[in-house]
């Protein structure tokens, strides 16, 4: 449009303001990456020299590597649980008809809103009675609660636009319900499930408040970072943070890709 090109000249103050706000949003995150390659013993910007010392420290430390492993275990199991439970629940919420459906939907979404500190302390209160502190499964169950709403939101969104007549067609042509689900339904709703799964993974992988209470002596990566940050600004964390930033960006781009694919369907 001509008006838009014309407007560019007079609108530069607006674009300048927007640029500054974007810098405020993004710069604090990306400043960590150059710092993590610093050869100095302190955190400096601009970093003096180039070295991989903090990455070497990270990879060489049993504490850090086992925390990373733990986070992947918890994250993958949480994703598995939340995706399966959440997808089933989404079918019930979209296609089922029963009393209290709105209420159930509200309860499933409520961990998004209830302050995590309350959920964390409440679960800690119960789990400590059953010696579930420090247990892998305890943490996975608690994280599944937090991840479930993301799966349900994403899967119900794709199910809402789903044309049930396709399923009926498959059934009438002789496919049984299981085959219909895997051959017809799943290929159509997988972008929703995939988005939900990505959300579930990142929710668990980055979660710290519940981890603070439930980890016991086996910290996840965020718990290990929390301890490190609280005691002193440990430069190793800059290397861990940079790796986490890269991981987040990869997951985000995957999500964007999945959602664009679903848009074309």
């Amino acid at each position: 449009m001509r008006t838009r090109e014309h407007a560019l000249g007079t609108r530069w103050p607006f674009y300048l303001i927007c640029t500054l706000i974007f810098l405020f949003l993004v710069l604090p995150i990306f400043i960590i990456i150059p710092i993590s390659f610093s050869a100095s013993r302190f955190l400096e910007f601009p970093p003096k020299g180039f070295s991989l010392q903090w990455y070497a420290k990270y990879l060489g430390s049993r504490n850090w590597t086992s925390a990373t492993l733990r986070s992947f275990q918890v994250g993958i199991l949480t994703t598995l649980f939340a995706t399966i439970l959440g997808t089933l629940a989404s079918f019930a919420l979209i296609r089922g008809e029963f009393r209290g459906k709105r209420l159930m939907y509200g309860i499933i979404l409520s961990p998004l809103v209830i302050p995590v500190i309350i959920t964390a302390i409440a679960v800690y209160y119960l789990f400590s009675k059953f010696h579930l502190i420090g247990s892998l499964w305890g943490l996975v169950l608690a994280h599944t609660i937090l991840a479930l709403p993301f799966v349900v939101v994403n899967v119900t969104a794709t199910l809402q636009g789903f044309d049930v007549t396709i399923e009926r067609a498959a059934l009438s042509l002789g496919a049984n319900r299981l085959i219909t689900f895997f051959k017809v339904t799943l290929p159509i709703i997988w972008p929703g499930i995939m988005s939900g799964a990505l959300f579930a993974f990142i929710t668990s992988f980055d979660e710290v408040v519940i981890a603070i209470f439930l980890c016991g002596s086996k910290p996840t990566l965020p718990k290990q970072m929390w301890d490190g940050i609280r005691i002193a600004i440990n430069p190793t964390i800059s290397a861990v943070s940079s790796l986490l930033i890269v991981l987040s960006i990869i997951l985000l781009l995957t999500l964007t890709f999945v959602r664009n694919r679903s848009g074309k369907l």
Partner: protein
Amino acid sequence: MRTEKDPTVYGLKYLAPSGALLAAVFILPIILFLSRSFLDPEPTLRHFIHAFKEPVYLKIIWITFRISFTVTVSCVLLGYPIAYLLADVKETVRNLLMILVLVPFWTSLLVRNYAWMVLLGRNGVINNFFLTLGLIEKPIRMLHTSFAVNVGMVQMMMPFMILSMFSVMNGIDRTLLRASASLGANKFRTFMRVFLPLSMPGVGSGSLLVFIYSLGFFITPALLGGGKAVMLSMVIEEQVSSLLNWGFASALALLLLTCTFVFFFVYTRFFKIERIF
């Protein structure tokens, strides 16, 4: 199809696993924990009386609300131009800019807080920068202040605000703006009289969401505030972890939860939370 014959069974069967998990690991523990505010050690109201009589706790409630309010207003002011820009540009540009909004949204909360600590610290990036330029003579105290908590929280909450406002602005019928222009209104007037009022639902939903999240925020005040900006969530944590005062922690948690629910109730009257994610 069986689903149409008996939808009740169909629905409940698939909901059962999530329902059981939520009941056991979410609802039950929260009820058990919150009930201690009345029942610790015997049926009593003293924890609530304690919370409302001690000036310290009233002050903490006040600070919690004040920080949440400041953060919400700052997010509206800083988020509005960005949401406007996103709704205004071509789709290819929008997709790129959207990634800039979503990167902080997807980056670990802990990483973002750590980044602010590195920036604002005594020997941090900002202090070093100004010292080398000679603009200041000795480091300014920025970390462990209520300023740091506010700035950090604004950055953490901005994506929620931007996405809320954008989803409304993107749905505004552009022909209305052209109609306004063709009737003789200049750009400023068109914005003030047409666009701004139509975008208000987005400002409302974003504000409520950010305010609700801010009320219960824990990590940022704990790491950036350093005891200078104590919020309700931190006191609850302290009562449990260091003082083992479950009854009082529970009373404060019930208070926080009630506030959250009041605002969330308002939110659900007008908006749908699932539109953000």
